[in-house]
């Protein structure tokens, strides 16, 4: 059956829609402000006229391309194109600064393709058990997942943990604006009806990451890319990049598994996965102090993990009808329009369609390699050759249009400009944008989980005990304690090593 399905996909129209979808997605993803969800929503009407398989294949390819395309902007301009490549900028951009931009792009391409294929395989082979696991996440588990995510702040804050936490808290406060997710009260709207919508995460992301970078470029009068590409030909070739990526199998496998686990948790997607994978890569590394200066491992971790989430988040979608990430909601809409009900039926009665869709996402991941390698060089050349006095206003303009398009709102543009200006000032005093955005994403999840848990425990005398009821909660709490204690543990280990070294030297004497 799989072979049959595969042959069905070799239809030239389908191959063409995969390549077109990946290219379109790549472009959308590379533009800060245009997100995968938006691209899918725009494409939706076109898929009505197509047969279901063609429509789903095209949407899957766009989704795959968009998550990958986000890395381009992250590597070349230090501005994540989508929330899924926040951590890509941490290593990708320093590489660009050192004149290794093309190498970074090639590594990101290969890592993304590997992640995309891994995600499709997870979906193809492990859907039922993964779907079961995803159902075990209740309100209490969500709360602990968010707290676990917040412990990442320590490692994301580059230096002062105090400033990192300050940034995280700031993000959480910004996240409380608008209508409360639970309870429906309006908070911090200052009497303005339009603020009921709160601050969209993507708007904050654009403001906090893109604007400070633009200010920097304008102040210096040049991009960091002006450095001469070192050894471009040898190191940026496809084979060399493939060698680099596969030279760290442990990192690759770990990042893919992290990506898949985050993907099946509804509400979290590539935006959380890339940060967690980066953090774990850093923790497992033999030289964590080098992170932030252009380490390939970090780049491989983020780009593989975020592309796993594309097909990975379809596990709860196809088996249970639960969108694992926002773009999946659009795909669910398309399936409902064609009368396809998620569940076992999807894999039996319309099996060929479903398996075709799954395999096509793997093909889309492969298609990213030629499209990405060509497109990457093209975009690199454009950014490299464009004088900075054209580049800065162009990016600024695109950013504002993108922000407006998020919710068709002028207010969002104003919020973006305010946050961006504040973000620049924060950066000057050492508060990085990543903890702020992380606080914004996780603050909401934590609040929701906490309030829902407390509400559902209303019947008991101590509702908060519900937070500690399930075994999955216990595992998560253990992980939190471990994660929070890690800096002290590693410091202890280092001291211990040093002592034994000196002890050894003593005996030698």
């Amino acid at each position: 059956m799989l072979l049959e399905t595969f042959l069905m996909l070799l239809d030239p129209v389908i191959i063409l829609s995969i390549f077109a979808g990946v290219s379109a997605g790549l472009f959308v993803g590379a533009m800060p402000g245009l997100t995968a969800t938006m691209a899918l929503a725009v494409l939706l009407p076109f898929t009505f006229t197509l047969p279901p398989l063609h429509g789903l294949v095209a949407l899957g390819a766009v989704y795959m391309g968009a998550i990958y395309g986000g890395s381009f902007a992250a590597i070349l301009v230090n501005t994540p194109g989508t929330p899924s490549s926040i951590a890509t900028a941490f290593e990708g951009y320093p590489m660009s600064k050192k004149g290794r931009a093309l190498e970074a792009l090639s590594i990101a391409t290969v890592a993304s393709a590997v992640g995309g294929i891994a995600g499709s395989l997870f979906l193809l082979l492990l859907s039922p058990p993964l779907a079961k696991l995803s159902l075990r996440f209740g309100p209490a588990e969500y709360f602990w997942v968010a707290v676990l995510g917040l412990t990442l702040i320590a490692s994301l804050s580059e230096g002062s943990a105090m400033k990192g936490m300050l940034g995280g808290a700031l993000g959480m406060v910004i996240g409380t604006m608008g209508v409360a997710p639970i309870g429906g009260e309006t908070r911090f709207t200052f009497g303005l009806p339009v603020l009921q919508g709160g601050v969209a995460m993507i708007v904050a992301l654009i403001g906090l990451f893109v604007l400070p970078e633009l200010f920097n470029m304008a102040a210096k009068g040049r991009t960091a890319l002006s450095a001469v590409e070192v050894n471009s030909r040898a190191k940026s070739s496809f084979w060399q990049a493939t060698k680099t990526v596969f030279s760290m199998p442990g990192n690759l496998i770990r990042s893919c598994i992290i990506g898949e686990i985050v993907a099946i948790i509804p509400g979290a997607g590539g935006n959380v996965a890339n940060l967690v994978a980066y953090n774990e890569a850093k923790r497992a590394s033999k030289h964590p102090e080098k992170y932030g200066t252009g380490v390939e491992e970090g780049l491989v971790a983020t780009e593989s993990s975020n592309n796993v989430t594309v097909a990975g988040s379809m596990v709860p979608l196809l088996t249970l009808g639960i969108p694992g990430a926002p773009p999946d909601a659009v795909i669910l809409g398309v399936m409902m329009l064609h009368g396809l009900r998620p569940g076992i039926e999807l894999f039996t009665t319309s099996g060929q369609l479903t398996y075709g869709f799954i395999i096509s996402m793997g093909l889309a991941a492969i298609a990213m390699v030629p499209v990405g390698l060509l497109g990457g060089r093209l975009i690199y050349k454009v950014i490299f050759r464009t004088p900075v006095y054209f580049l800065v206003p162009t990016i600024a303009m695109a950013t504002m249009l993108g922000t407006y398009a998020v919710r068709n709102s002028h207010t969002d543009v104003i919020i973006m400009l305010i946050l961006g200006t504040a973000g620049y000032l924060f950066k000057q005093i050492g508060i990085a944008p990543a903890p702020i955005v992380l606080g914004l994403i996780l603050g909401n999840i934590a609040e929701m989980g906490f309030v829902q848990t407390m509400l559902s425990g209303q019947a008991s005398q101590y509702p908060f005990l519900k937070l500690f009821e399930n075994s999955l909660s216990h595992i998560l709490i253990a992980m939190i304690l471990f994660s929070a204690a890690w800096p002290y543990l590693s410091a202890l280990k280092r001291r211990f090593k040093q002592r034994s070294k000196t002890a050894m030297e003593d005996t030698h004497e």
């Binding site: 969800t37 899918l40 929503a41 939706l44 009407p45 009505f48 995803s134 159902l135 075990r136 996440f137 209740g138 309100p139 608008g178 209508v179 409360a180 997710p181 639970i182 309870g183 429906g184 309006t186 709207t189 009497g191 303005l192 009806p193 339009v194 009921q196 919508g197 709160g198 969209a200 509804p266 509400g267 709860p316 249970l320 009808g321 639960i322 969108p323 926002p326 909601a329 659009v330 795909i331 669910l332 809409g333 409902m336 329009l337 009368g339 009900r341 998620p342 569940g343 076992i344 919710r407 068709n408 709102s409 929701m448 829902q452 509400l455 559902s456 209303q458 019947a459």
Partner: protein, 323 residues
């Protein structure tokens, strides 16, 4: 300086022409519509409002002969789009916004700064209804509504009922059920219908007050105890209504479209005809998904708002008093 002057003159001429065009309603509107219509959905793409609009779009275009552009303006449970619409939309029929009951009834009542009024719309038509449905997991101990009510009587507040949002149709219906049956349940709000489904599947809530399409789409996994419609829903003839079971509860989400107050009646009529035709064309698809079709236009549309306002009025004013 010269260029500026020329521009000013051109603008003036343009404005004059436009004023004259708009100033002769008979002549200008006889040809409605003459340009593309913007159809704003106040929610995210992929939801029920969006899917319906996408289905209507080609049918509307066929009937009206102009492009209909669906755009999204999500935020604040719809309030961002609605307050913006009442403030800025021109009453010419070229701006149409999707509207939902009970959202437009509840929000202005509960929030100090909803930014819009329930009666600040000219409703063109309510085109469908998704009644509330009380749903439990297939393997749940509750086989009938009676089982659930008995359980709630014995163990107050232990019966957790999940639903989409606070002061939403799901929430208000749960409150009404509590009042009518004289029991205490615990309502747990989620951020939309989507996240309620895994919560029920995973056993994190005992039941869910959701909409009929959920009952239909997940009939392999869920059992629907009762549905809050006047008559049984076509897509699930085996499920009793609350009314049959002795609880006078009819409610859910109504979806429709509105234009600004002051839009000329002939334009409203033309739009109503277009939406009626579109509704007929797409009804087969929607009925299968568990929707109940509606054709409430004109006075019927206004009456529906009043009926629902009364139905939810008691529970809403209870909430208001507590605040």
């Amino acid at each position: 300086m010269k260029g500026l002057k020329l521009n000013t003159i051109l603008t003036l001429v343009l404005v004059t022409v436009l004023t004259i065009a708009v100033g002769i309603p008979g002549a200008a509107f006889a040809g409605f519509p003459e340009k593309p219509i913007t159809y704003t959905i106040p929610f995210n793409p992929g939801g029920e409002s969006d899917i319906t609009a996408r289905l209507q779009e080609p049918e509307l275009e066929k009937y009206l002969g102009v492009a209909v552009n669906v755009t999204h303006k999500p935020g604040g449970g719809g309030a961002v789009a609605w307050s913006d619409f009442q403030r800025t939309a021109k009453p010419d029929g070229y701006s149409v916004v999707g509207c939902n009951i009970p959202h437009i009834i509840g929000q202005p009542m509960i929030r100090k700064e909803a930014g819009y009024k329930t009666d600040g719309f000219k409703v063109v038509m309510w085109f469908h209804f998704t009644p509330n449905a009380l749903v439990v997991s297939k393997d749940s101990e509750f086989k009938t509504l009676d089982d659930f009510i008995k359980f709630a009587k014995k163990k107050p507040f232990v019966g957790t009922v999940g639903g989409s949002g606070t002061y939403s149709a799901n929430h208000l219906e749960t409150l009404r059920l509590m009042k009518k049956a004289g029991v205490d349940l615990t309502y747990v709000p989620y951020t939309g219908t989507g996240p309620v489904i895994p919560a029920l599947m995973g056993g994190h809530i005992k039941a869910a007050m959701s909409y009929s399409p959920v009952s239909v789409n997940y009939k392999d996994k869920f059992r629907t105890l009762a549905v809050a419609s006047e008559e049984r829903v076509p897509a699930m003839p085996d499920v009793p209504t609350f009314k049959e079971l002795g609880y006078d509860i009819v409610g859910g989400a109504f979806r429709g479209v509105a234009v600004p107050l002051g839009t000329p009646q002939d334009v409203v009529d033309k739009l109503a005809q277009a939406y009626t035709e579109a509704n007929k064309k797409i009804s087969k698809k929607q009925l299968d998904l568990g929707f109940v079709m509606k054709y409430a236009t004109g006075d019927d549309a206004v009456a529906l708002v009043d009926t629902m306002r009364k139905a939810y009025g008691d529970v809403l004013s209870d909430i208001k008093k507590k605040k």
